[in-house]
């Protein structure tokens, strides 16, 4: 794809996010949850890059670290080539408008004590996007953009349904003219018919406003629908990163394969080729040595137990972290 030739708008290098655990006693060793453990990727202008994985894989943490909602333990985030991680708190606040976020829970993501008008006004004032006089017109424009009636500006969040709240969240993110929007499970809490409306809205916004999306989700069907490229995460690290068609048609990591096959589908043919993984996801406090997936992988060998597989390119647009990716790819799915 041609997007790869452009300069990345957002670049993540060796990002690590460890959370210290409360100590059991004075004498026990200090434990950390390695939520994100050394990941790197690039986000190109105008594309939608998705991060998928199951709970605890670190996908949401990645989003929060990029936004510096949690200070990253290590690593660097570059926005348009400039480091965001080294900015002071004040400098960071000034550039916040460039990267915005849409959250999962439509009930927790709006301040219950603010009308929609106050919410939008405050956002625009903080980022100083325009003189006060022009805000009124802009707010009405935003409301119609996200498909809400203008008089809803005067209402409090409790009067809205989940889908409407998500639209308000989108309006709030858009009002400061961002370039990148991180969607953190932005449609996961919605019913399918509402979910479809919001997905369509997001896609339209991207097209009309020239936005770049980092789309974090656990739902592979939605990811397939909305993304250009996809990252698959497992236990804090990236196991596969590829353009969408390549990933869904030729999944090369055994975990990606299992994940894809596990999705319940209304399609008759899909049902026969199911890979059932054994056991639970191991704890991120003491992740397995070597390949983190080896404890559940049907193809694991001794090599996988000791050596960490590197994320390497199979094709220019398809990278995978598995010692046996080529062999697996040539064999039919189990």
């Amino acid at each position: 794809m041609s997007v790869m030739e452009k300069e990345p708008i957002l670049e993540v290098n060796h990002l690590k996010q460890y959370f210290p655990l409360k100590k059991e006693s004075l004498f026990s060793p200090k434990q950390t949850v390695k939520a994100v453990d050394d990941i790197s990727f690039k986000l190109y202008p105008g594309e939608t890059l998705s991060i998928v994985g199951e709970s605890g894989c670190g996908k949401s943490t990645t989003g929060r670290s990029i936004l510096r909602l949690d200070e990253p333990t290590e690593g660097e985030v570059l926005f348009n080539g400039a480091s965001m991680t080294s900015l002071s708190k004040k400098e960071l606040r000034e550039m916040r408008g460039d990267i915005q976020v849409i959250f999962q829970d439509p009930y927790a993501s709006l301040n219950p004590r603010q009308t929609i008008r106050k919410m939008l006004q405050e956002a625009m004032t903080i980022q100083n996007v325009m003189p006060k006089k022009q805000m009124e017109a802009r707010m009405l424009e935003l409301m119609s953009l996200v498909g809400l009636r203008p008089e809803y500006l005067e209402r409090y969040p409790h009067e809205f349904s989940g889908g409407q709240r998500q639209r308000i969240g989108i309006a709030r993110a858009l009002c400061v003219n961002p370039k990148v929007i991180i969607c953190d499970e932005a449609v996961s809490a919605l019913d399918v018919s509402i979910q479809a409306q919001i997905i369509n809205l997001l896609k339209r916004m991207q097209r009309d406003l020239d936005l770049t999306f980092l789309f974090i989700s656990h739902d592979l069907s939605v990811v397939r629908h909305i993304s250009d490229r996809v990252i698959v995460m497992y236990l804090g690290s990236i196991v596969e990163i590829a353009d969408k068609d390549s990933l869904f048609d030729r999944p090369s990591h055994p975990y990606t394969r299992a994940l894809l096959s596990a999705i319940p589908s209304t399609d008759e043919q899909q049902k026969k080729t199911r890979i059932i993984l054994k056991g639970d996801v191991p704890s991120p406090i003491n992740p397995p040595t070597g390949c983190r997936f080896h404890t559940r992988c049907p193809f694991a060998t001794d090599l996988c137990k000791t050596d960490v597989p590197e994320l390497r390119a199979l094709t220019p647009t398809h990278k995978v972290a598995c010692h046996y990716a080529e062999t697996l790819l040539s064999s039919p799915p189990v």
Partner: protein, 300 residues
């Protein structure tokens, strides 16, 4: 499309705003009328505040006037609550005393709430070492059993109604701080706080505009319950002779005085105690009702 929306709806917006305001007021009224306990409490409290305001008009006698020939008369048509050992009209003293007893309670809770809320917001919002320090401080304050912290403070500052107010106020700080800290930590991790942070708001804006309004409900509930106990504590300290000094008509002090005449004139102790009890009951009822109405999860 967008330009069309900008022209016409100004009238609609004003109407919508009005609608929202009306809606809020109605929902508040619904909460109050449906909650009989809160309503009863509110009526009691309102009655006391009214007494406080118009005490001089209501009081039939001068509360300080000593008339030894009338001493220790039981309740009668002339003296509805009788007279005390110095012949002062108990009813008049109680009416005037309302100012002291309620005033001390309200002032001390305001004092405690002010510092407690600030400490709680800071500890809850910043977490980490700030929280550790504040929490340890609160632990120490809570390590004094009951009103002993207040006693310790009074022993340093000396007896008196102002010092009682401070002492009971200090004793209230950790109670507010703990509740605010907990609620702040809960609210802090909600997504709308993250949203406003990613919009570039500074900590002060976040705490004052986004967290504080959302931890108000538990503060109000705690405030009402705390007023009840603060009034009890303050009256207790005066009862011990550490607060209001004679001839002050503070209810606790009147009770203490009445104790010495329990055999001969029990009404001297009964009426001030009753006044305290009903007031405290009012605040407890109001707090109970509010808690049920504002947050069902807070039922503790």
């Amino acid at each position: 499309m967008a330009s069309k929306a900008t022209v016409s709806p100004n009238v609609d917006l004003a109407k919508a705003r009005q609608h929202t305001r009306r809606e809020r007021w109605q929902s508040f009224r619904r909460v109050m009328t449906q909650n009989k306990a809160a309503m009863a409490g509110a009526i009691i409290i309102a009655a006391y505040f009214l007494i406080m305001l118009v005490a001089p008009v209501l009081a039939p006698y001068d509360p300080f006037e000593i008339s030894l020939e009338d001493k220790l008369t039981p309740p009668s048509a002339d003296h509805w609550m009788g007279t005390d050992d110095k012949g002062r009209d108990i009813l008049s003293r109680i009416l005037y005393g309302s100012r002291l007893s309620i005033g001390v309670g309200v002032a001390s809770v305001a004092f405690g709430a002010f510092f407690g809320i600030i400490l709680g917001l800071i500890a809850g919002y910043y977490g980490k070492w700030v929280d550790t320090i504040v929490s340890r401080l609160l632990d120490v304050m809570l390590a004094f059993p009951g009103i002993l912290l207040a006693l310790a403070i009074i022993s340093a500052l000396g007896p008196g109604l102002v010092n009682v107010t401070i002492a009971v106020g200090v004793f209230s700080i950790p109670l507010f701080a703990r509740i605010v800290r907990g609620s702040t930590m809960e609210v802090k991790q909600l997504e709308y706080i993250d949203a406003i942070r990613t919009l570039g708001a500074n900590d002060f804006t976040i705490i004052v505009k986004h967290i504080f309004p959302n931890v108000l409900s538990p503060i109000i509930v705690q405030g009402s319950m705390r007023l009840a106990t603060a009034i009890l504590s303050a009256a207790g300290l005066s009862f011990l002779g550490l607060g209001a000094q004679p001839p002050s008509p503070e209810w606790g002090a009147m009770l203490a005085n009445g104790r010495d005449f329990l055999f001969s004139a029990p009404y001297m102790a009964i009426f001030p105690g009753m006044m305290i009890s009903v007031l405290v009951l009012g605040f407890n009822l109001f707090g109970d009702g509010l808690r049920d109405a504002l947050d069902p999860k807070l039922k503790k």
